[in-house]
């Protein structure tokens, strides 16, 4: 048995088992333990992993041969980071949901584990068709999670989310089919995609087709309008999955399937996309200033942060790419932490409106400290995880253009403004009747918050192990693209 198959399909087996438990409360415990198996397996993989050795643990089985698609998976440094993120965050997200009584927990946690397999397929696939299958397989469970366990407005919001995302991915599928026709051996193989020689014009179209899917998923301005509504309406666990892991599919896709597949298209559209990303940073941050719904505020802040990651990718240099890698982990940890914190507040106060909050710090000092640490990670204070990522990303953008860096850097100021404003409105100031009775966090919440805060600080102090995982892979990917662009024109 190949270990990577075990890694990918272990969660789906767990999903079946958990699903069978139906309405038993036991389901969440089983799901949690099962996700720990995956995490342990990831740790084992990590210990076996050699960053310098390219793609490892590869498995290549014939699949839809007549179509030119094989079941071809493997892990290189970039994939490793995302596998680590997925398998690290899912146990945490499940643990964070322990305070919720979701009806029909078997189905709920089964869907989460099913989604995990989809995500892992996306992050390890070396075949475009397989990538697409994983891409959609991850979407289906999250749709049901949001549509069944979400807020009152969930159906309408979810249809928009679903159709929007599917529209993007169908266009990507068209692009993939076109690419497969253009490869030398008429296959969906990643390397064949990389080696296909298309005219600059054709690459432009392929770039757009792929970009649309990834831009919607991330989301990049102006394809973001599904996101605040969905984050707000989804159950908190769903929001964590969406923001913590799922949006990284778009970023990963851009790194693996967009820029190297259509380098000339990237050369043509890259600057435009960069401008969009930077607009997104400023735009979303400014919107976040006046949001009174805490979930919506964090949703917009997430658009801003992802905009910076996108900018770091689309400048396509080592600093930017490495910054994106570590920021994906940091953003995952921070945004899950942030939504967990908001969930605690919302569950206790039964409102998302900041006007009805205030003074919580007084009644819940431990909670206030945890909130503050996560917040500091989000605003990228040095010695927290956010700083490493934003520093490298901004440096990457700076290497491309100093003005772009100056504008993208506004996130440092704006982030402080809206986050501290929220903290002040929620935690500081005078308490009202509801917040006066605010219970401090219980043991489960303490554990989750402690893990998150620990990660925030640990990654901030010693980021090198993570950076080392992805550096060789990032370097070779950059060389590949620059070589191809350089052959045709000087970019």
């Amino acid at each position: 048995m190949e270990i990577i198959l075990l890694l990918i399909f272990l969660p789906v087996v767990g999903a079946a088992i958990v699903g069978l438990l139906g309405k038993l409360e036991l389901a969440k415990t089983v799901a949690f333990i099962w996700s720990l198996f995956s995490l342990g397996l990831t740790a084992y993989l990590l210990s076996e992993f050699d960053p310098g050795a390219g793609t490892q643990f590869t498995v290549d089985y014939p699949w839809f041969l007549s179509m030119g698609s094989r079941f071809n998976v493997g892990i290189d440094g970039i994939s490793m980071i995302l596998v680590l993120l997925t398998n690290g965050l899912i146990p945490l997200i499940i643990l964070a949901s322990f305070n919720h009584e979701y009806k029909n927990p078997g189905a709920f946690y089964g869907l989460i584990l099913f989604m995990q397999t989809g995500l892992l397929l996306v992050f390890t696939a070396l075949d475009a068709f397989l990538f697409y299958v994983g891409w959609e397989a991850a979407l289906i469970p999250i749709y049901f999670i949001c549509a069944i366990w979400g807020g009152p407005n969930r159906i309408k919001v979810n249809i928009k989310f679903f159709i929007y995302t599917v529209a993007g991915s169908l266009i990507m599928l068209v692009g993939m089919i076109y690419m497969a026709q253009q490869t030398a051996d008429k296959t969906y193989d990643l390397q064949s995609f990389y080696q296909a020689s298309l005219s600059a014009g054709a690459q432009s179209w392929v770039f757009l087709a792929f970009f649309l899917a990834f831009a919607i998923k991330m989301p990049v301005f102006p394809f973001h309008t599904w996101q605040p509504d969905t984050y707000t309406e989804a159950p908190t666990t769903g929001t964590m999955l969406l923001s913590g892991i799922m949006l990284k599919m778009g970023i990963y896709g851009a790194i693996r399937w967009l820029i190297p597949v259509a380098p000339l298209g990237f050369a043509h559209w890259g600057p435009t996309v960069l401008v969009l990303s930077i607009i997104g940073i400023v735009y979303a941050s400014i919107i976040a200033f006046t949001q009174k719904d805490v979930k919506r505020l964090v949703a917009y802040s997430s658009i801003g942060h992802v905009g910076l990651i996108a900018a770091g990718i689309f400048v396509w240099n080592l600093n930017g790419l490495q910054g994106a890698m570590i920021q994906m982990i940091s953003h995952g940890v921070n945004v899950v932490g942030m939504f967990f914190i908001l969930d605690i507040i919302i569950r206790r106060l039964d409102t998302r409106d900041t006007d009805k909050m205030g003074g919580i710090a007084k009644s819940a000092p431990t909670f206030a400290i945890g909130f503050l640490i996560v917040l500091l990670g989000t605003v990228a204070l040095p010695l927290t995880n956010g700083f490493i990522g934003e520093f490298l990303l901004l440096m990457g953008v700076y290497n491309y253009n100093i003005y772009a860096a100056a504008i993208a850097g506004l996130t440092i100021i704006f982030g402080a403004v809206y986050m501290l404003r929220m903290y002040q409105r929620v935690m500081l100031g005078d308490a009202n009747e509801a917040t006066l009775a605010f219970r401090d966090i219980n043991a489960n919440e303490k554990v989750v918050l402690f893990i998150i805060c620990g990660l925030v600080i640990l990654i901030g102090i010693y980021p090198n192990p993570i950076l080392n995982i992805s550096e060789p892979a990032a370097k070779s990917l950059i060389d590949l693209v620059n070589g191809k662009i350089g052959n045709v024109s000087s970019f």
């Binding site: 040095p382 860096a405 308490a431």
Partner: protein, 637 residues
Amino acid sequence: MFTHLVWLIPLLPLIGFLINGLGRNVLPKSAVGFIGSVMVLLSFIVSIGIFTELNDSAVKSVVYPLFDWIQVGDLKISFSFQVDPLSSLMLLIVTGIGFLIHVYSIGYMHHDSGFAKFFAYLNLFVFFMLLLVLGSNYVVMFIGWEGVGLCSYLLIGFWYSNPSYASAAKKAFVMNRIGDLGFLIGIFLIFSMFKSLEFSTVFSQAANLAPNNNIIVLITILLFIGATGKSAQIPLFTWLPDAMAGPTPVSALIHAATMVTAGIYMIARSNILFTLAPFTLNIISIIGIATALLAATIAITQTDIKKVLAYSTVSQLGYMFLGLGVGAYTGAFFHVITHAFFKALLFLGAGSVIHAVSNEQDMRSMGGLRSKLKITYATMLIGTIAISGIPPFAGFFSKDEILAHAYEHNKLLWVLGVVGAMFTAFYMFRMLFLTFSGKFRGTKEQEEHLHESPGSMTFPLIVLAILSIVGGFIGVPEVLHGNHWLARFLEPVFYASSTKVHETAVLDHNTEYVLMAVSVIGAVMAAIIAYVRYSKNGHVPVPDTADRGALANLSYNKYYIDELYDFVIAKPLNLLSGFFYRIVDKTLIDGIVNGFGKVASEASKGLRLLQTGNIGFYIFMMIAGIVALLAYGFLNI
């Protein structure tokens, strides 16, 4: 020996922070205060050891690497410390004054419920400040730089239940962040130019460059923007007066003695870059003197004792920047040291007063405290004389050095500097007389409660008062038959800069005597005017409701700069936020997205009208279709 223990210096306060932070609900107050203070004291002892070692040693700069922090491609940022004359002196200030203020806080914060939290924050601040000072590259410095901003935020908002205090904390953090962005981009520029962020590498390469390099000018301007944020210069100075919302020891430590001088420290550290950019130096001197005067003119009408001191700090920081701008790096750093002594003293004294009068800060409700608070009065008097620049107290020497360099550079700067110094003397003596002379103007209860502060509070006052008296003697200029120990000690740090500047005519001794005489006489006269007005005539500032003159009103309301920023920046941004959210996001972009859905559903609404349900019509359409198909077929054949 001690140099190898340099990692202990920041580590000890960090340990203190962790112990006090984690044990805040368990530890008794005495233990908390003891741990907090002793950790800083130990750091101070190590700092003294390092200082004496460095003084005796021939090697004037030691880099002590700890571990590799960030490593991406050719970007290698190591977590490492640098010990040299500049950082060793700054270490002494931070840990020494830090220790005194910790001791003071034991008394001052004794009744506060957040006692342990307060000490944890203070320790954390000292930790970050030491990182800032010790960092051997710009990024480690930046850690400390942002870290102290965080602690400043936490401590200003220490009493966060008061919404305006929480807002002041937020304002301080955000304004600092504006500067930090400039600093950060400056760091990127430095890296792309020198391929390194280590001070030693950058400065040794820069020493070989010709002046007026455009990139260097840009780098220095960006670094200076960073400094304006942290050191409260125009245009980012408005946070510092608001920062007085924090407990008074915080104001003394963070917002007077240490953190706010970080900008000066950073520029002094990067002096070679700035020397290569005369253009930036001119800007710095202009901003410096403008800030000094602006803040001084605001200070003369303020009635809150801490606000007076806050604006005084802004003004003195302006002097330091003036010193940097005219190339008097030693003078500026000298003023950092002396200012740390007397301003910490004045703030702690003010704290002692506030403590005595039951948390009243308005000087209109004070007065006549001289007899009740003897030690506080005596020490604050010393501080006031020192800040006014009256010899032989500390402030005189440092301020004089800056002014002398300003005179060499540009006579107008000197004139403005002297005017500012007169303002300084005036508002400081005004504060002193309003507080201590005349009759007590507060309530009866407050009067009965008046008392001298406990020993833990007066002890730091006395130490600082002694330092304010003798602190100036480390830099007695040659003209006064001194040998300026400080300049010689710091020479290795500023050596490269001094070789770049072609010394213009050095002032002859007579000119220097005249300059000193003018500034001293000016200060004394201002003090006398303040005495006559506020002590002899017993003038008291009018209540808020009364009319002032137009000028006084402008000054009292801080030139309406806060309102201006609010109107020009904050309000438009909030409006923009609403506009983006409601119009652009919800209506325009979402409108287009939903438009796709609408087009589909509208089209179906139109097309379904064809389904009339009338069978005859269906059949007719069917036959018409067949005929049309046939016709099409015939025509095409």
